[in-house]
Protein backbone atom coordinates (compact mmCIF):
# COMPACT_ATOMS: atom_id res chain seq x y z
CA UNK A 1 0.00 0.00 0.00
CA UNK A 2 1.45 3.34 -1.04
CA UNK A 3 0.60 6.34 1.03
CA UNK A 4 -0.72 9.29 -1.00
CA UNK A 5 -1.27 11.67 1.89
CA UNK A 6 0.63 11.82 5.14
CA UNK A 7 -0.51 13.92 8.05
CA UNK A 8 2.54 14.13 10.26
CA UNK A 9 2.26 15.56 13.79
CA UNK A 10 -0.06 18.36 12.68
CA UNK A 11 -1.41 20.82 15.24
CA UNK A 12 -3.77 23.77 14.90
CA UNK A 13 -5.04 26.22 17.48
CA UNK A 14 -7.63 28.94 17.20
CA UNK A 15 -6.64 31.28 20.02
CA UNK A 16 -7.07 29.25 23.16
CA UNK A 17 -8.91 26.43 21.42
CA UNK A 18 -6.90 23.39 20.40
CA UNK A 19 -8.57 22.35 17.17
CA UNK A 20 -6.08 19.60 16.34
CA UNK A 21 -3.26 18.25 18.49
CA UNK A 22 -0.30 16.27 17.15
CA UNK A 23 -2.40 14.46 14.61
CA UNK A 24 -0.72 11.83 12.44
CA UNK A 25 -2.23 9.37 9.98
CA UNK A 26 -1.88 8.09 6.43
CA UNK A 27 -4.23 7.95 3.49
CA UNK A 28 -3.41 5.05 1.17
CA UNK A 29 -3.75 5.14 -2.57
CA UNK A 30 -7.03 3.97 -4.10
CA UNK A 31 -8.62 3.49 -0.69
CA UNK A 32 -11.52 5.23 0.97
CA UNK A 33 -10.35 6.63 4.29
CA UNK A 34 -12.96 8.08 6.61
CA UNK A 35 -12.53 10.58 9.42
CA UNK A 36 -15.23 10.38 12.05
CA UNK A 37 -15.80 11.93 15.42
CA UNK A 38 -18.35 14.03 17.32
CA UNK A 39 -19.10 17.65 16.42
CA UNK A 40 -16.13 19.85 17.19
CA UNK A 41 -13.65 16.98 16.89
CA UNK A 42 -11.69 18.94 14.29
CA UNK A 43 -12.76 17.14 11.11
CA UNK A 44 -13.56 20.16 9.00
CA UNK A 45 -10.47 21.94 10.37
CA UNK A 46 -8.45 18.98 9.13
CA UNK A 47 -9.96 19.34 5.65
CA UNK A 48 -9.26 23.07 5.63
CA UNK A 49 -5.64 22.40 6.59
CA UNK A 50 -5.21 19.80 3.87
CA UNK A 51 -6.77 21.96 1.17
CA UNK A 52 -4.83 24.97 2.37
CA UNK A 53 -7.65 27.30 3.36
CA UNK A 54 -6.00 27.79 6.75
CA UNK A 55 -2.31 27.36 7.62
CA UNK A 56 -1.06 24.68 10.00
CA UNK A 57 0.69 25.72 13.22
CA UNK A 58 3.17 22.86 13.27
CA UNK A 59 3.78 19.49 11.65
CA UNK A 60 3.94 18.38 8.04
CA UNK A 61 1.48 17.52 5.31
CA UNK A 62 2.95 15.36 2.57
CA UNK A 63 1.02 14.68 -0.62
CA UNK A 64 2.33 12.34 -3.28
CA UNK A 65 5.84 12.41 -1.74
CA UNK A 66 5.87 16.19 -1.74
CA UNK A 67 5.54 18.54 1.22
CA UNK A 68 2.54 20.79 0.60
CA UNK A 69 1.82 22.58 3.87
CA UNK A 70 3.49 25.81 2.69
CA UNK A 71 1.62 25.83 -0.64
CA UNK A 72 -1.36 28.03 -1.45
CA UNK A 73 -4.76 26.44 -1.80
CA UNK A 74 -4.91 26.75 -5.59
CA UNK A 75 -1.44 25.22 -5.92
CA UNK A 76 -2.51 22.17 -3.93
CA UNK A 77 -5.55 21.80 -6.19
CA UNK A 78 -3.25 21.83 -9.20
CA UNK A 79 -1.22 19.02 -7.64
CA UNK A 80 -4.35 16.91 -7.50
CA UNK A 81 -6.35 17.57 -4.35
CA UNK A 82 -10.03 18.35 -4.91
CA UNK A 83 -12.65 18.91 -2.25
CA UNK A 84 -16.32 19.52 -1.55
CA UNK A 85 -17.81 21.55 1.27
CA UNK A 86 -20.14 20.66 4.10
CA UNK A 87 -22.18 23.75 3.32
CA UNK A 88 -22.54 23.45 -0.44
CA UNK A 89 -19.81 25.14 -2.41
CA UNK A 90 -21.66 25.51 -5.71
CA UNK A 91 -22.02 28.92 -7.34
CA UNK A 92 -25.56 30.22 -7.57
CA UNK A 93 -24.69 32.70 -10.33
CA UNK A 94 -23.95 29.95 -12.82
CA UNK A 95 -25.63 27.06 -14.56
CA UNK A 96 -24.97 23.45 -13.61
CA UNK A 97 -22.64 22.84 -16.54
CA UNK A 98 -20.70 26.05 -15.90
CA UNK A 99 -20.16 24.94 -12.33
CA UNK A 100 -18.76 21.66 -13.55
CA UNK A 101 -16.64 23.24 -16.29
CA UNK A 102 -15.05 25.40 -13.61
CA UNK A 103 -13.56 22.25 -12.15
CA UNK A 104 -11.85 21.40 -15.44
CA UNK A 105 -10.47 24.86 -16.03
CA UNK A 106 -7.22 24.19 -14.18
CA UNK A 107 -6.16 21.99 -17.07
CA UNK A 108 -6.98 24.57 -19.73
CA UNK A 109 -3.96 25.46 -21.83
CA UNK A 110 -5.27 28.13 -24.16
CA UNK A 111 -3.44 31.39 -23.60
CA UNK A 112 -5.04 34.67 -22.69
CA UNK A 113 -4.77 36.19 -26.18
CA UNK A 114 -6.39 33.16 -27.73
CA UNK A 115 -9.15 33.36 -25.11
CA UNK A 116 -9.77 37.07 -25.62
CA UNK A 117 -10.16 36.65 -29.38
CA UNK A 118 -12.01 33.36 -29.01
CA UNK A 119 -9.77 31.69 -31.59
CA UNK A 120 -10.37 28.26 -33.05
CA UNK A 121 -8.02 26.76 -30.48
CA UNK A 122 -10.06 28.30 -27.66
CA UNK A 123 -13.38 27.20 -29.11
CA UNK A 124 -12.04 23.68 -29.51
CA UNK A 125 -10.89 23.59 -25.92
CA UNK A 126 -14.20 24.98 -24.63
CA UNK A 127 -15.99 22.30 -26.62
CA UNK A 128 -13.79 19.59 -25.13
CA UNK A 129 -14.31 20.92 -21.60
CA UNK A 130 -18.06 21.04 -22.15
CA UNK A 131 -18.17 17.51 -23.54
CA UNK A 132 -16.20 16.15 -20.62
CA UNK A 133 -18.55 17.94 -18.22
CA UNK A 134 -21.54 16.40 -19.99
CA UNK A 135 -19.94 12.96 -19.79
CA UNK A 136 -19.48 13.18 -16.04
CA UNK A 137 -22.88 14.75 -15.44
CA UNK A 138 -24.29 11.83 -17.34
CA UNK A 139 -22.28 9.33 -15.31
CA UNK A 140 -23.53 10.98 -12.10
CA UNK A 141 -27.09 10.83 -13.41
CA UNK A 142 -27.77 14.57 -13.55
CA UNK A 143 -27.29 15.35 -17.20
CA UNK A 144 -30.93 16.41 -17.54
CA UNK A 145 -30.42 19.54 -15.44
CA UNK A 146 -27.18 20.67 -17.10
CA UNK A 147 -28.46 23.98 -18.47
CA UNK A 148 -30.47 24.95 -15.41
CA UNK A 149 -29.27 27.52 -12.94
CA UNK A 150 -27.81 25.69 -9.98
CA UNK A 151 -30.27 27.27 -7.54
CA UNK A 152 -33.23 25.85 -9.47
CA UNK A 153 -32.35 22.21 -8.90
CA UNK A 154 -32.93 19.93 -5.91
CA UNK A 155 -30.50 19.91 -3.01
CA UNK A 156 -29.35 16.35 -3.70
CA UNK A 157 -28.52 17.27 -7.28
CA UNK A 158 -26.64 20.38 -6.17
CA UNK A 159 -24.49 18.17 -4.01
CA UNK A 160 -23.85 15.83 -6.93
CA UNK A 161 -22.90 18.82 -9.07
CA UNK A 162 -20.33 19.80 -6.48
CA UNK A 163 -18.89 16.29 -6.41
CA UNK A 164 -18.85 16.17 -10.22
CA UNK A 165 -17.02 19.50 -10.31
CA UNK A 166 -14.40 18.05 -7.99
CA UNK A 167 -13.94 14.88 -10.06
CA UNK A 168 -13.53 16.56 -13.45
CA UNK A 169 -10.32 18.21 -12.23
CA UNK A 170 -8.82 14.67 -12.33
CA UNK A 171 -7.77 14.68 -8.70
CA UNK A 172 -5.58 12.03 -7.16
CA UNK A 173 -7.23 12.70 -3.83
CA UNK A 174 -10.83 13.75 -3.28
CA UNK A 175 -11.90 15.24 0.06
CA UNK A 176 -15.62 14.85 0.74
CA UNK A 177 -16.90 16.88 3.67
CA UNK A 178 -20.15 15.32 4.88
CA UNK A 179 -21.54 14.51 1.43
CA UNK A 180 -24.64 12.80 2.89
CA UNK A 181 -25.65 15.70 5.15
CA UNK A 182 -29.22 16.69 4.37
CA UNK A 183 -29.90 13.66 2.14
CA UNK A 184 -32.63 11.11 2.86
CA UNK A 185 -32.02 7.35 2.96
CA UNK A 186 -32.71 6.68 -0.72
CA UNK A 187 -30.53 9.58 -1.78
CA UNK A 188 -27.75 8.41 0.53
CA UNK A 189 -27.93 4.89 -0.96
CA UNK A 190 -27.54 6.30 -4.43
CA UNK A 191 -24.67 8.54 -3.24
CA UNK A 192 -22.85 5.52 -1.80
CA UNK A 193 -22.86 3.74 -5.16
CA UNK A 194 -21.61 6.91 -6.85
CA UNK A 195 -18.76 7.31 -4.36
CA UNK A 196 -17.82 3.68 -4.97
CA UNK A 197 -17.86 4.34 -8.71
CA UNK A 198 -15.55 7.35 -8.25
CA UNK A 199 -13.21 5.30 -6.08
CA UNK A 200 -13.18 2.49 -8.64
CA UNK A 201 -12.12 4.93 -11.32
CA UNK A 202 -8.86 5.35 -9.40
CA UNK A 203 -9.50 8.35 -7.19
CA UNK A 204 -8.41 8.07 -3.56
CA UNK A 205 -11.06 9.39 -1.18
CA UNK A 206 -10.85 10.98 2.23
CA UNK A 207 -14.32 11.45 3.67
CA UNK A 208 -15.80 13.10 6.74
CA UNK A 209 -19.28 11.83 7.53
CA UNK A 210 -21.75 11.40 10.37
CA UNK A 211 -23.79 8.67 8.72
CA UNK A 212 -22.23 5.59 10.34
CA UNK A 213 -23.93 3.02 8.11
CA UNK A 214 -22.49 4.76 5.10
CA UNK A 215 -19.02 5.01 6.66
CA UNK A 216 -18.93 1.35 7.62
CA UNK A 217 -20.01 0.37 4.12
CA UNK A 218 -17.64 2.42 1.99
CA UNK A 219 -14.50 2.86 4.09
CA UNK A 220 -11.34 0.79 3.88
CA UNK A 221 -9.94 2.53 6.93
CA UNK A 222 -11.31 4.84 9.59
CA UNK A 223 -9.61 7.50 11.70
CA UNK A 224 -11.51 8.59 14.81
CA UNK A 225 -11.02 12.08 16.22
CA UNK A 226 -12.20 13.49 19.52
CA UNK A 227 -11.39 17.00 20.72
CA UNK A 228 -8.71 17.32 18.07
CA UNK A 229 -6.88 14.12 18.93
CA UNK A 230 -6.78 10.78 17.22
CA UNK A 231 -8.25 8.17 19.52
CA UNK A 232 -8.47 5.22 17.16
CA UNK A 233 -7.57 4.08 13.66
CA UNK A 234 -8.28 0.89 11.79
CA UNK A 235 -10.60 -1.16 9.62
CA UNK A 236 -14.36 -0.57 10.02
CA UNK A 237 -14.88 -3.81 11.95
CA UNK A 238 -12.05 -2.90 14.34
CA UNK A 239 -13.47 0.55 14.93
CA UNK A 240 -16.95 -0.88 15.61
CA UNK A 241 -15.47 -2.94 18.45
CA UNK A 242 -13.23 -0.22 19.83
CA UNK A 243 -14.24 0.68 23.41
CA UNK A 244 -13.04 4.26 23.23
CA UNK A 245 -15.04 4.88 20.07
CA UNK A 246 -18.17 3.30 21.52
CA UNK A 247 -17.83 5.44 24.63
CA UNK A 248 -17.56 8.74 22.79
CA UNK A 249 -20.53 7.91 20.60
CA UNK A 250 -22.73 6.30 23.22
CA UNK A 251 -21.43 8.11 26.30
CA UNK A 252 -20.49 4.97 28.25
CA UNK A 253 -18.03 5.52 31.07
CA UNK A 254 -15.22 3.11 31.60
Amino acid sequence: MTSILTINDVSKRFGGLKALTNLSFEVYENQVTAVIGPNGAGKTTLFNLISGLIPIDSGKIIFNRRRIDHLKSYERTKLGIARTFQTLGVFSNMTVIENVMLGEDIHAETGIISTIFNTKKHRKEEKYIREKAVYWLNRMGIEDVKDKNISEIAFEKQRLVEITRAIVSNPKLLLLDEPAAGLNITETRSLISKIKDINDSGITILIVEHDMDMIMEISDRIVVLNFGEKIAEGKPEEIQKNDKVISIYLGTTY
Binding site: L53, A82, M101, L102, I106, F117
Partner: protein, 316 residues
Protein backbone atom coordinates in the same frame (compact mmCIF):
# COMPACT_ATOMS: atom_id res chain seq x y z
CA UNK B 1 -27.27 31.55 -24.59
CA UNK B 2 -25.90 32.72 -27.93
CA UNK B 3 -22.15 32.50 -27.90
CA UNK B 4 -21.38 34.50 -31.00
CA UNK B 5 -19.78 37.57 -29.50
CA UNK B 6 -18.47 38.68 -32.89
CA UNK B 7 -22.05 38.79 -34.18
CA UNK B 8 -23.23 40.88 -31.24
CA UNK B 9 -20.33 43.28 -31.66
CA UNK B 10 -21.03 43.71 -35.38
CA UNK B 11 -24.74 44.28 -34.72
CA UNK B 12 -23.85 46.95 -32.18
CA UNK B 13 -21.64 48.68 -34.73
CA UNK B 14 -24.30 48.50 -37.43
CA UNK B 15 -26.93 49.95 -35.07
CA UNK B 16 -24.52 52.74 -34.22
CA UNK B 17 -24.06 53.46 -37.95
CA UNK B 18 -27.82 53.49 -38.47
CA UNK B 19 -28.11 56.10 -35.70
CA UNK B 20 -25.52 58.17 -37.53
CA UNK B 21 -27.76 58.16 -40.61
CA UNK B 22 -30.93 58.94 -38.63
CA UNK B 23 -29.58 61.73 -36.43
CA UNK B 24 -28.32 64.47 -38.68
CA UNK B 25 -28.23 66.83 -35.71
CA UNK B 26 -24.58 67.25 -34.62
CA UNK B 27 -25.74 67.66 -31.03
CA UNK B 28 -27.04 64.08 -30.91
CA UNK B 29 -23.89 62.79 -32.59
CA UNK B 30 -21.86 64.49 -29.85
CA UNK B 31 -23.98 62.89 -27.13
CA UNK B 32 -23.57 59.47 -28.71
CA UNK B 33 -19.81 59.96 -28.91
CA UNK B 34 -19.79 60.59 -25.17
CA UNK B 35 -21.94 57.52 -24.72
CA UNK B 36 -19.24 55.54 -26.52
CA UNK B 37 -16.50 57.00 -24.33
CA UNK B 38 -18.46 56.23 -21.16
CA UNK B 39 -19.21 52.73 -22.38
CA UNK B 40 -15.54 51.89 -22.74
CA UNK B 41 -15.13 52.67 -19.04
CA UNK B 42 -18.30 51.02 -17.80
CA UNK B 43 -17.80 47.78 -19.75
CA UNK B 44 -14.50 47.38 -17.87
CA UNK B 45 -16.15 48.39 -14.62
CA UNK B 46 -18.87 45.82 -15.20
CA UNK B 47 -16.26 43.08 -15.56
CA UNK B 48 -14.71 44.26 -12.32
CA UNK B 49 -17.89 44.90 -10.30
CA UNK B 50 -20.42 42.47 -11.65
CA UNK B 51 -18.17 39.55 -12.42
CA UNK B 52 -15.22 39.85 -10.04
CA UNK B 53 -17.22 41.55 -7.27
CA UNK B 54 -14.75 44.37 -6.71
CA UNK B 55 -15.58 48.07 -6.69
CA UNK B 56 -13.27 50.72 -8.10
CA UNK B 57 -13.90 54.34 -7.15
CA UNK B 58 -10.95 55.41 -9.26
CA UNK B 59 -12.11 54.85 -12.84
CA UNK B 60 -12.31 58.62 -13.41
CA UNK B 61 -8.67 58.82 -12.32
CA UNK B 62 -7.59 56.12 -14.79
CA UNK B 63 -9.66 57.87 -17.44
CA UNK B 64 -7.86 61.10 -16.49
CA UNK B 65 -4.38 59.59 -16.45
CA UNK B 66 -5.00 58.15 -19.91
CA UNK B 67 -6.28 61.50 -21.19
CA UNK B 68 -3.61 63.71 -19.61
CA UNK B 69 -0.72 61.43 -20.55
CA UNK B 70 -1.62 61.43 -24.21
CA UNK B 71 -2.70 65.09 -24.15
CA UNK B 72 0.53 66.31 -22.55
CA UNK B 73 2.81 64.14 -24.67
CA UNK B 74 1.27 65.35 -27.93
CA UNK B 75 0.42 68.99 -27.10
CA UNK B 76 3.45 69.86 -24.97
CA UNK B 77 6.14 67.55 -26.30
CA UNK B 78 4.98 67.07 -29.84
CA UNK B 79 5.19 63.27 -29.76
CA UNK B 80 3.27 61.31 -32.39
CA UNK B 81 -0.18 60.08 -31.37
CA UNK B 82 0.79 56.42 -31.75
CA UNK B 83 3.49 56.84 -29.12
CA UNK B 84 1.32 58.86 -26.76
CA UNK B 85 -1.43 56.25 -27.11
CA UNK B 86 0.87 53.42 -26.02
CA UNK B 87 2.29 55.55 -23.21
CA UNK B 88 -1.14 56.48 -21.88
CA UNK B 89 -2.28 52.85 -21.77
CA UNK B 90 1.03 51.61 -20.33
CA UNK B 91 1.26 54.25 -17.58
CA UNK B 92 -2.36 53.77 -16.50
CA UNK B 93 -2.10 50.00 -16.46
CA UNK B 94 1.15 50.22 -14.52
CA UNK B 95 -0.41 52.47 -11.86
CA UNK B 96 -3.41 50.16 -11.56
CA UNK B 97 -1.06 47.20 -11.24
CA UNK B 98 0.91 48.85 -8.42
CA UNK B 99 -2.28 49.69 -6.53
CA UNK B 100 -3.83 46.33 -7.23
CA UNK B 101 -0.99 44.14 -5.97
CA UNK B 102 -1.35 44.86 -2.25
CA UNK B 103 -5.07 45.63 -2.15
CA UNK B 104 -6.29 42.65 -4.15
CA UNK B 105 -4.44 40.18 -1.97
CA UNK B 106 -6.90 41.16 0.73
CA UNK B 107 -10.47 39.99 0.84
CA UNK B 108 -13.17 42.64 1.02
CA UNK B 109 -13.53 46.14 -0.33
CA UNK B 110 -10.01 47.43 0.12
CA UNK B 111 -9.80 48.16 -3.58
CA UNK B 112 -12.66 50.64 -3.28
CA UNK B 113 -10.79 52.50 -0.54
CA UNK B 114 -7.44 52.49 -2.31
CA UNK B 115 -8.90 53.69 -5.59
CA UNK B 116 -10.89 56.37 -3.77
CA UNK B 117 -7.57 57.67 -2.45
CA UNK B 118 -5.98 57.43 -5.88
CA UNK B 119 -8.84 59.44 -7.38
CA UNK B 120 -8.23 62.30 -4.95
CA UNK B 121 -4.45 62.26 -5.47
CA UNK B 122 -4.77 62.29 -9.24
CA UNK B 123 -7.32 65.11 -9.08
CA UNK B 124 -4.94 67.18 -6.94
CA UNK B 125 -2.01 66.47 -9.27
CA UNK B 126 -4.06 67.64 -12.28
CA UNK B 127 -4.84 70.86 -10.43
CA UNK B 128 -1.40 71.58 -9.00
CA UNK B 129 1.07 70.39 -11.62
CA UNK B 130 0.48 73.64 -13.49
CA UNK B 131 3.53 73.58 -15.85
CA UNK B 132 2.26 70.37 -17.44
CA UNK B 133 -1.49 70.34 -16.82
CA UNK B 134 -2.27 74.03 -16.85
CA UNK B 135 -3.87 73.64 -13.41
CA UNK B 136 -7.59 74.24 -12.87
CA UNK B 137 -7.95 76.11 -16.15
CA UNK B 138 -6.55 73.19 -18.11
CA UNK B 139 -4.74 73.14 -21.44
CA UNK B 140 -5.69 72.82 -25.07
CA UNK B 141 -4.24 72.44 -28.54
CA UNK B 142 -4.28 68.66 -28.33
CA UNK B 143 -4.11 67.31 -31.90
CA UNK B 144 -6.90 65.20 -33.36
CA UNK B 145 -6.30 61.55 -34.19
CA UNK B 146 -4.95 60.68 -37.61
CA UNK B 147 -5.32 57.11 -38.66
CA UNK B 148 -4.19 55.69 -42.03
CA UNK B 149 -3.83 59.25 -43.29
CA UNK B 150 -7.42 60.13 -42.36
CA UNK B 151 -7.75 62.94 -39.87
CA UNK B 152 -10.67 62.37 -37.47
CA UNK B 153 -11.52 66.05 -37.51
CA UNK B 154 -15.28 65.83 -37.85
CA UNK B 155 -17.81 64.46 -35.39
CA UNK B 156 -19.03 61.96 -38.00
CA UNK B 157 -15.59 60.46 -38.55
CA UNK B 158 -14.84 60.35 -34.86
CA UNK B 159 -18.24 58.78 -34.21
CA UNK B 160 -17.52 55.91 -36.59
CA UNK B 161 -14.06 55.45 -35.09
CA UNK B 162 -15.24 55.36 -31.48
CA UNK B 163 -18.12 52.99 -32.13
CA UNK B 164 -15.79 50.66 -33.99
CA UNK B 165 -13.62 50.63 -30.87
CA UNK B 166 -16.62 50.16 -28.56
CA UNK B 167 -17.71 47.19 -30.68
CA UNK B 168 -14.23 45.71 -30.54
CA UNK B 169 -14.03 46.14 -26.74
CA UNK B 170 -17.49 44.61 -26.48
CA UNK B 171 -16.30 41.66 -28.58
CA UNK B 172 -13.29 40.88 -26.40
CA UNK B 173 -15.20 41.51 -23.17
CA UNK B 174 -17.99 39.12 -24.15
CA UNK B 175 -15.32 36.56 -25.03
CA UNK B 176 -13.75 36.98 -21.62
CA UNK B 177 -17.11 36.55 -19.92
CA UNK B 178 -17.86 33.38 -21.89
CA UNK B 179 -14.49 31.78 -21.21
CA UNK B 180 -12.86 30.13 -18.24
CA UNK B 181 -11.78 33.63 -17.14
CA UNK B 182 -15.43 34.62 -16.92
CA UNK B 183 -16.24 31.50 -14.94
CA UNK B 184 -13.36 32.20 -12.57
CA UNK B 185 -14.55 35.78 -12.11
CA UNK B 186 -18.10 34.71 -11.35
CA UNK B 187 -16.80 32.11 -8.92
CA UNK B 188 -14.57 34.42 -6.95
CA UNK B 189 -17.39 36.95 -6.80
CA UNK B 190 -19.33 34.38 -4.76
CA UNK B 191 -16.51 32.90 -2.70
CA UNK B 192 -12.76 33.38 -2.89
CA UNK B 193 -12.16 30.37 -0.65
CA UNK B 194 -14.11 27.94 -2.76
CA UNK B 195 -12.56 29.40 -5.91
CA UNK B 196 -9.08 28.81 -4.57
CA UNK B 197 -9.90 25.16 -3.91
CA UNK B 198 -10.81 24.93 -7.60
CA UNK B 199 -7.29 25.93 -8.55
CA UNK B 200 -8.04 29.60 -9.21
CA UNK B 201 -5.30 32.02 -8.22
CA UNK B 202 -7.79 34.58 -6.97
CA UNK B 203 -5.44 37.52 -6.44
CA UNK B 204 -3.98 37.06 -9.92
CA UNK B 205 -7.40 36.95 -11.57
CA UNK B 206 -8.60 40.00 -9.63
CA UNK B 207 -5.44 41.90 -10.48
CA UNK B 208 -5.77 40.97 -14.13
CA UNK B 209 -9.34 42.16 -14.46
CA UNK B 210 -8.64 45.34 -12.48
CA UNK B 211 -5.73 46.33 -14.72
CA UNK B 212 -7.86 45.47 -17.76
CA UNK B 213 -10.62 47.78 -16.53
CA UNK B 214 -8.02 50.50 -15.96
CA UNK B 215 -6.73 49.90 -19.48
CA UNK B 216 -10.24 50.35 -20.91
CA UNK B 217 -10.59 53.60 -18.94
CA UNK B 218 -7.23 54.80 -20.26
CA UNK B 219 -8.35 54.02 -23.82
CA UNK B 220 -11.50 56.07 -23.18
CA UNK B 221 -9.34 58.88 -21.76
CA UNK B 222 -7.06 58.84 -24.78
CA UNK B 223 -10.05 59.12 -27.14
CA UNK B 224 -11.63 61.84 -25.00
CA UNK B 225 -8.44 63.94 -25.02
CA UNK B 226 -8.10 63.83 -28.79
CA UNK B 227 -11.80 64.38 -29.39
CA UNK B 228 -12.35 67.33 -27.06
CA UNK B 229 -8.75 68.57 -27.64
CA UNK B 230 -8.90 70.39 -24.33
CA UNK B 231 -8.43 68.98 -20.81
CA UNK B 232 -9.26 70.39 -17.40
CA UNK B 233 -9.50 68.55 -14.06
CA UNK B 234 -13.26 69.00 -13.67
CA UNK B 235 -14.05 66.05 -15.95
CA UNK B 236 -12.04 63.63 -13.80
CA UNK B 237 -13.39 64.21 -10.31
CA UNK B 238 -14.75 61.74 -7.77
CA UNK B 239 -18.26 62.68 -8.95
CA UNK B 240 -17.54 61.09 -12.31
CA UNK B 241 -16.22 57.91 -10.67
CA UNK B 242 -19.42 57.69 -8.65
CA UNK B 243 -21.49 58.31 -11.75
CA UNK B 244 -19.70 55.44 -13.54
CA UNK B 245 -20.34 53.06 -10.65
CA UNK B 246 -23.98 54.21 -10.65
CA UNK B 247 -24.29 53.50 -14.37
CA UNK B 248 -23.14 49.92 -13.89
CA UNK B 249 -25.25 49.44 -10.77
CA UNK B 250 -28.56 50.68 -12.18
CA UNK B 251 -28.16 48.83 -15.47
CA UNK B 252 -27.40 45.53 -13.82
CA UNK B 253 -24.01 44.51 -12.59
CA UNK B 254 -23.97 40.86 -13.48
CA UNK B 255 -24.20 41.47 -17.18
CA UNK B 256 -22.22 43.53 -19.68
CA UNK B 257 -25.48 44.54 -21.41
CA UNK B 258 -26.67 45.83 -18.06
CA UNK B 259 -23.71 48.20 -17.99
CA UNK B 260 -24.62 49.15 -21.55
CA UNK B 261 -28.18 49.97 -20.55
CA UNK B 262 -27.21 51.88 -17.41
CA UNK B 263 -24.62 53.91 -19.26
CA UNK B 264 -27.08 54.77 -21.99
CA UNK B 265 -29.67 55.92 -19.45
CA UNK B 266 -27.30 58.03 -17.39
CA UNK B 267 -25.55 59.53 -20.41
CA UNK B 268 -28.75 60.49 -22.21
CA UNK B 269 -30.86 61.41 -19.19
CA UNK B 270 -28.82 64.50 -18.16
CA UNK B 271 -29.59 65.98 -21.56
CA UNK B 272 -33.24 66.02 -20.50
CA UNK B 273 -32.51 67.13 -16.94
CA UNK B 274 -30.73 70.31 -17.84
CA UNK B 275 -33.49 72.52 -16.45
CA UNK B 276 -32.80 71.08 -12.98
CA UNK B 277 -29.31 72.62 -13.16
CA UNK B 278 -27.24 71.56 -10.15
CA UNK B 279 -30.11 69.58 -8.68
CA UNK B 280 -29.61 66.83 -11.24
CA UNK B 281 -27.44 65.00 -8.71
CA UNK B 282 -30.58 64.67 -6.56
CA UNK B 283 -32.36 62.96 -9.44
CA UNK B 284 -29.46 60.49 -9.87
CA UNK B 285 -29.56 59.80 -6.14
CA UNK B 286 -33.30 59.19 -6.28
CA UNK B 287 -32.93 56.87 -9.29
CA UNK B 288 -30.13 54.90 -7.65
CA UNK B 289 -32.06 54.60 -4.39
CA UNK B 290 -35.27 53.44 -6.03
CA UNK B 291 -33.45 50.86 -8.12
CA UNK B 292 -31.49 49.53 -5.17
CA UNK B 293 -34.75 49.22 -3.21
CA UNK B 294 -37.04 47.93 -5.93
CA UNK B 295 -34.71 46.01 -8.23
CA UNK B 296 -31.26 45.55 -6.74
CA UNK B 297 -30.10 43.39 -9.64
CA UNK B 298 -30.46 46.34 -11.99
CA UNK B 299 -32.77 47.24 -14.83
CA UNK B 300 -31.40 44.80 -17.40
CA UNK B 301 -33.64 41.84 -18.10
CA UNK B 302 -36.68 43.44 -16.50
CA UNK B 303 -39.87 42.06 -17.93
CA UNK B 304 -42.51 44.50 -18.95
CA UNK B 305 -45.99 43.22 -19.56
CA UNK B 306 -47.73 44.69 -22.53
CA UNK B 307 -51.41 43.97 -21.88
CA UNK B 308 -52.56 43.73 -25.49
CA UNK B 309 -49.80 41.38 -26.58
CA UNK B 310 -50.29 39.03 -23.64
CA UNK B 311 -46.70 37.94 -24.05
CA UNK B 312 -43.98 39.11 -21.71
CA UNK B 313 -41.35 40.93 -23.61
CA UNK B 314 -37.78 41.40 -22.59
CA UNK B 315 -36.57 44.94 -22.58
CA UNK B 316 -33.57 45.54 -24.86
Amino acid sequence: MIKKSSFKAVVTFVIALIFLLIFKNPYYIGVLIFLGINLLITIGLSLLMGYAGQISMGQAAFFGIGAYTSGILTAKFGLPIGVSFLASIAITVFIAFIIGIPTLKLKGHYLAMATLGLGEIVYIVFNELIPLTGGPSGFGEIPVIKIFGISLDSDQKFYIFIWAIVSFILFISLNIVNSRIGRALKALNKSEEISSTLGINTSKVKLGIFTLSAGYAALAGFLYAHYVTFLSPGSFSLNFSILLVTMVAIGGMENIWGAFLGTAILTLLPEYLRFFKDFDILIYGAILMSIMLLRPEGLYGIKIKIPFLKKTKKEI
